[in-house]
């Protein structure tokens, strides 16, 4: 995968939630091969920042740019290169793990049964592939959501608390996935409380202050 020149940049983002001015002049940039970890206490606006990047929340002022161009008016193009893992796993309890991937990840890229299986194997839930998502444990659901992220084949990952509900092996898996992704020239932005890749060379931090 080549993500040459795939630089994401945010300049002076200001966002409000209700009457609270949450993000004040937040600026940062992420280059290929970098993992930006957004930290800060609860309620400081980590999720808000990630949702603004995805365009799920409007920013009051500020400019987002991708590959050197403002993303205003090019949302669909940008979204296709963006993989999002939010608080919610976006799973349907009545569908099996495989169907969940087919119907959601399949909207972005054309999937084959083999890609789905190899991705389920990568996140360690291949044996659960035909079980309804309802019957998976919280950690397994998170792994399934990670599989969806992998299948999106996106350049820029936006992860909101990716290790929620995961055991130590799961946390290591997330770390591996992020490192693999950025080593291939991808970009990742994550909000996290927990230790996550704290000593990795690709790590950069963005501390949000109340």
């Amino acid at each position: 995968m080549a993500f040459d020149g795939a630089v994401f940049e945010a300049r002076e983002i200001n966002a409000w939630r209700g009457d609270r001015h949450i993000l004040r002049d937040v600026s940062f940039s992420v280059r290929p091969g970098e993992f930006l970890k957004v930290t800060g206490p609860n309620g400081v606006g980590k999720t808000t920042l990630l949702r603004v990047i995805c365009g799920l929340l409007p920013a009051e002022t500020g400019e987002l740019s991708w590959r050197g161009q403002s993303i205003r008016g090019r949302r669909d193009e940008f979204n296709f290169e963006l993989g999002h893992l939010g608080h919610l796993n976006s799973l349907k309890g009545d569908l099996t793990a495989r169907e969940n991937l087919k119907f959601l990840a399949g909207l972005r890229t054309t999937l084959t049964a083999e890609t789905i299986d190899s991705t389920l194997d990568r996140v360690g839930i291949l044996s659960r592939g035909d079980l309804p998502a309802r019957s998976l444990s919280a950690g397994q659901k998170r792994r399934l959501a990670l599989a969806r992220l992998l299948l999106a084949d996106a350049a820029l990952w936006i992860l909101d608390e990716p290790v929620t509900n995961l055991d130590t092996a799961g946390i290591r898996l997330v770390e591996e996935l992020i490192v693999d992704h950025v080593e291939q020239g991808g970009l990742a932005i994550a909000a996290a409380h927990q230790r996550l890749l704290d000593d990795a060379p690709c790590l950069r931090r963005l501390e949000l202050e109340p």
Binding site: L56, E81, L82, N89, S90, D94, F103, L104, T109, T110
Partner: protein, 230 residues
């Protein structure tokens, strides 16, 4: 892994297929409007008169009112589950035109709840004394009417999905818009029964349907984008 971007039509088909699969596993929820429709229309002869010639006078109207209310019944939950579990968020971020995905979802909803009403209407109509000569017009008018109603309802459901107890609001939003459908639909049936040509009201129904079909996806995607902002 080399990614091949899914064509929009294939993506819309996936959304449609997904809703069919889900409905297959939750068929009791899907059957609810149809049961309501059959029960309400069979109650009319019981409550008014078993005299078929008297029932025939109001038959077209009764079928239409029942179909309208039955469609409305199924609307409230249209987008709720998808918004709550974060699926619509992923649709917004899928890089696919959101309007088409939502239209596919509404189409699945119509096939599951609107089409059964249309298919059932001759039987229901016969119970109300409607002659076989009006079956065609009744079914065709309901085909256009339920289709329009699914799209209008989709807009309403998308707008009210973020509102707690949005069902009252949804009825208030959609019912006034549905009135023209009711008027033209039942008028077409009456005209056919009286031996007049029902072309006029049917053409108006078709016009409303195509307007809803062309503008509905835009309105729905705008409304869903507002809903995921919360």
């Amino acid at each position: 892994m080399s990614a091949v971007r899914t064509p929009t039509l294939a993506a819309a088909r996936l959304v449609f297929q997904r809703d069919m699969t889900l409905a297959w596993r939750r068929w009791d929820e899907v059957a609810q409007p149809l049961i309501f429709y059959v029960v309400v229309t069979t109650m009319f002869p019981l409550a008014t008169t078993p005299d078929l010639s008297a029932l025939r006078e109001i038959g077209g109207g009764v079928v239409w009112v029942a179909a309208l209310l039955a469609s409305l019944l199924a609307l409230e939950s249209l987008f709720r589950a998808d918004v709550e579990d974060g699926t619509t968020e992923q649709w917004v971020l899928s890089g696919q035109p959101l309007g088409y995905l939502l239209l596919a979802k509404v189409a699945a909803h119509w096939v599951l709840t609107g089409l059964p009403l249309v298919i059932m209407s001759p039987i229901v109509g016969t119970g109300l004394g409607l002659p076989t000569s009006v079956w065609g017009v009744l079914m065709f008018s309901l085909l256009l009417g339920t289709g329009t109603l699914s799209i209008l309802g989709g807009i309403g459901a998308a707008l009210t999905v973020g509102v707690r107890r949005g069902s009252v609001l949804l009825s208030l939003l959609v019912l006034p818009l549905a009135m023209p459908l009711l008027i033209f639909g039942s008028r077409a049936v009456t005209m056919q029964m009286d031996g007049d040509s029902p072309a006029g009201p049917l053409q108006l129904l078709a016009a409303i349907f195509f307007m809803a079909l062309s503008l509905g996806p835009l309105a729905m995607s705008a409304a869903i984008r507002i809903s995921v902002e919360n």
